[in-house]
Symmetry: none
Subunit: 240 residues, 2 copies
DNA sequence: ATCCCCATTCGTTGGACCAGAATATGGTTA
DNA sequence: TAACCATATTCTGGTCCAACGAATGGGGAT
């Protein structure tokens, strides 16, 4: 079962076959007919008839397009064009995202970079409803029955914070990091307890409510630094 | 509206159906059996028998995994695990037909958030060689023969900047966004010329060399704001 | 306008055939 | 006998076909 081959001499993905050609033809057809987001493709049977291929082959090609975030197929209505390429690409990227110490460090560093400096992107969109939701999520963290639920609530708080900024790319990036962040938070909860995180969140919310940029940055940096501290102690290699 | 949804983080994508569950099960199987790059999966017929699904369904799931860059299927050999999810993500994102103005603004906003605040993550790792390379790339942008090459050099500059921070995950995310950033830069070059970008880059490098955090933030924000400004000013209605 | 029924469409299944590659087989020769 | 090469066999993926179930949108009846 274990492959003994050194490495495939053909690094190229299969560029032949009916499915691949059909994907290319569909792409060309979309471009030729000027279809835009929201338009729908013909039915599978019609496509199979038009291109002279079996419906299973058409389905496989459509599956590729769906995995690529180009179309979204709804039963009875057909395949409609969507604009979710980046989300799909990030999904693909994160499919095998390993939960390793390096990834932990990367993502925690990314969170510091983003969340501490998020205030300016956040403030213009912030509403009272947002603040109420953040407080509800913070309360839910305290009421969580176990560590996993607590970590989930913690993640929900930060994800909601990021979502308020209204940047779909940033939200997608956070979404793909969710499993890693959850693991990170669970470990943190086990070592530090949840009260500290709750207090930090409350301070962050207060700073947001008062529009205090410096206070927000201070509390957020402090909050994230707590999470970073525990695990840098467990990673031997953090240099160059 | 805030009903306690247990698990669906993204209700957009279809998270049901035999194909999706099989993808998840295959993913779990790979993790459970500790399969690594080079190992091979059972045959389609064996999988269909083991999971009680038709071979066509198994094929669709395998097609998804192949589109995700997780496996590469060779005739007679079967599906072997590969480690190409990053390049697969690049393929996915390059596949897109048209880039919407929303995506442009979105990614530019993401870049602002990241790159403007990158200084603190950058400074500890910055070396003289890094500065020299940045200057070389900036010079290359000026010497580029055409707009595409100029945009490529521009992207190389920013990618190198992000890479210096030493965050591999962030660097990969930037690589995934490369096609869109390139398109963005090409359009910018056509309207604004390259001298302005070159001057901004030079100012950024100077700020880095002098360790001037505020100057770096100022010039980077200005630089990225130019790119955003042109685009928001010239957002035409998408091709109907 | 509302409700109900039906036709259409996707989702999935089971089976079939074909081309090609890996392997076993058998014959040939040193 | 043993090494070697050509052939036959046997998998495996790639494609196609026919069919059924479930869900849903639309059209007709009220």
């Amino acid at each position: 079962m274990l492959a003994a081959r050194p490495l495939p001499p053909d690094p190229d993905i299969a560029r032949s076959g009916a499915v691949h050609t059909l994907v290319a033809e569909l792409r060309a057809m979309i471009a030729a007919e000027g279809l835009v987001t929201g338009d729908s493709l013909p039915t599978e049977r019609e496509l199979s008839e038009r291109f002279g291929m079996a419906r299973n082959t058409v389905r496989e090609a459509i599956g590729v397009l769906r995995a690529y975030g180009v179309i979204e197929v709804r039963p009875k209505v057909g395949a409609v064009l969507i604009n979710r390429h980046l989300s799909a690409a990030l999904d693909v990227f994160s499919f095998q995202l390993s939960i390793s110490p390096e990834t932990f460090a990367d993502i925690q560093g990314f969170r510091q970079l983003v969340e501490v400096n998020l205030f300016d992107a956040l403030a213009p969109h912030l509403t009272m409803a947002d603040l109420a939701r953040l407080e509800a999520q913070n309360a839910a963290m305290l009421a969580a029955p176990d560590v996993a639920a607590c970590a989930a609530a913690d993640y929900a708080f930060h994800h909601a914070l990021v979502a308020i900024a209204g940047n779909a790319t940033l939200r997608d990036v956070y979404r793909i990091m969710e499993p890693v962040i959850l693991r990170l938070m669970e470990t943190g909860k086990e070592t530090r307890g949840r009260d500290m995180a709750h207090a930090s969140h409350a301070a962050i919310i207060r700073a947001l409510r008062e529009g205090d940029r410096l206070a927000y940055q201070y509390f957020m940096a402090d909050h994230l630094h707590q999470g970073l501290g525990f695990f840098t102690a467990t990673t031997p290699e953090a240099a160059p």
